[in-house]
Symmetry: C2
Subunit: 404 residues, 2 copies
Amino acid sequence: MATINENYLKLQGSYLFQTVARKVHEFESNNQGARLIKLGIGDVTQPIAPAITAALHRAVDEMGAAETFHGYAPDLGYEFLRNAIVENEYRKRGIDIEPDEIFISDGAKSDCSNIQEIFDHNSLVAVCDPVYPVYVDSNVMAGRAGNFSEETKHYSRLIYLPCTEDNGFIPDFPKIKPDLIYLCFPNNPTGVAITKDRLQEWVDYALKNDAVILYDAAYEAYINDDQLPHSIYECSGAEYCAIEFRSFSKNAGFTGLRLGYTVISKKLKLHGESVHSMWARRHGTKYNGAPYIVQRAGEAVYTPEGSRQIKEQIATYMKNAQYLKSALAGAGYTVYGGENAPYIWLKTPRGLSSWEFFDLLLNNAGVVGTPGSGFGSHGEGFFRLTAFGTYENSREAIARIKCL
Amino acid sequence: MATINENYLKLQGSYLFQTVARKVHEFESNNQGARLIKLGIGDVTQPIAPAITAALHRAVDEMGAAETFHGYAPDLGYEFLRNAIVENEYRKRGIDIEPDEIFISDGAKSDCSNIQEIFDHNSLVAVCDPVYPVYVDSNVMAGRAGNFSEETKHYSRLIYLPCTEDNGFIPDFPKIKPDLIYLCFPNNPTGVAITKDRLQEWVDYALKNDAVILYDAAYEAYINDDQLPHSIYECSGAEYCAIEFRSFSKNAGFTGLRLGYTVISKKLKLHGESVHSMWARRHGTKYNGAPYIVQRAGEAVYTPEGSRQIKEQIATYMKNAQYLKSALAGAGYTVYGGENAPYIWLKTPRGLSSWEFFDLLLNNAGVVGTPGSGFGSHGEGFFRLTAFGTYENSREAIARIKCL
């Protein structure tokens, strides 16, 4: 008799962004003609840069001719893209990563959620709180998280690393030693970046405790401060204990094109077993590669024109971030993030809960953000705004918020 | 202390097609200039049809303009594509499937390997033998398959359904009742199709035993015989017990574009739990959708021009299949499949093992096929050739094989 994976029943409510979407849909149904400003989900708004669409057009033409048609992609992804990534993202920063340590995929969300499969079913998992929900939910589905407590809003078998105003939203080491540690910097949702020294401490901690760090660097392109690390592999010894996830979604606007990659050094071994080989096996067995045309688009990100064009896009978003941050601070809000990340993490006013502030903003200002409590119990009383809107919308949002 | 998922250590050798690729690579390194004819991996060779590349170009232009840019796709996939699929693949055949029962994905391989996640960890899984390796390997990785026996070449907890000359490569019901049953028709690797009556018997069996059929219909476009079912939902009651996987890879040459879909009726429930909701949750949490431009390409498959163009492509491949089958039969080989599927399943001559015949064909004829034993113990003594080459190459392959 077929039965379901009962771990799914332990998932809390629906996925955060689905709930936000439902509330927005209800508001729009009941308020025909109202112009909402959406600074909620972290989706980009600027179009794909010209150098990249040109590469896409060329690749489409290749696919339309027998001599240049491309079928199944190589398991790790095309070498032209892996070489470009290694050269531009790693070697230029003095990091020794080989092209065959790069696994091209359809995005960091897939990789972040699938990576847990290659580790032991009983692994103890540490996550930041607040946290990008995918790290938690993928481990709940796999049965690693235990049961959810309505009281603590925590799963019994997860180790939570509080990220609070007190610790500057950079987690301290936990009392219980984890096997797997999810870290994301610059952080989603807090928008806070980590210093190289602090990240090195986490790498040292992982090495000392035989833990693996699952490092989500999807927002590294938003780092303004030259001293901050773009990759965990800037830290000494990270190749022995860390897996890194990267995305083209936020640096080049690929949320609708789908491209990302995972980096696993061949030096990362657990009891002599190569983690690289395990992921290679998973990748080859359960996945068939990102589209050729999208991999060519990724390559174009690293051309001189592509690189210049996406830098301009990022600068546009960061102008929004700076504006949102200073304007909200000027209006009396306590605001974090937004300097090396496209996210603003603000404290809700007057002790409102995150969802109360969400409803207030939606219903009275027509502005959509994301409730901090949706990212974890330590996100309660906070609220995330993204800098991915247009500058005009960012200004309009502030004008409306000031009237609240 | 982090440890690996030890189930991965139970996987046998490397993924079949990786082994084939390695042997081919070695041959090519040692035989510079030799012209290999590759009828091994099931990759297509004809370029993307003009109506589809035109749609891709239009979609790329949309992505390059702010007003028409598309970011994250809707969870289930774009409605324009789901509507086109429902209309053309189901309603035209009198099947009642709703657009919100379609889940767009990056291909059937991902879906076939991920689907097991939503079922109980202890589910008893039945697979055909020979079988597309992904069904087995994904369950080995999940710890459902038990241990592999070198003697029987079987995993201890899988239920094998022998597909042999005796049963015409259509499996009989097993002695032990399975919870999940993977079926694939027209079949990969045998190239044999199932009749509607026989498929109805499997649906009735599943309904009677509370089992779920995971039906891979990736090759349905190759069916020539009007009486054969394209979808399991042509069978009465299948909406209560079956999940169907479809692909654009083989009907429209999307192996390098990546697009497929899974169909789950909202009527499919296990102990009152909606399997549709479970997969929706998995899809929304661990996946971010197929690229907008590729979904537009999928839509173009259903336009009058697109439809006509891909029918011509399929006819070209089926001309190869018919030629390969009759020429091999004429040369004294025993041959199956190839009439409603792009695969030829031939018996190796002179009692050679599948891998011996692979080596013979590679080294003495410069032709690459796939050893039947790579698909399971009942594939031993068989060999798969695909019809996805060009007609010229198919003729040349036969000329070379005749000289063996």
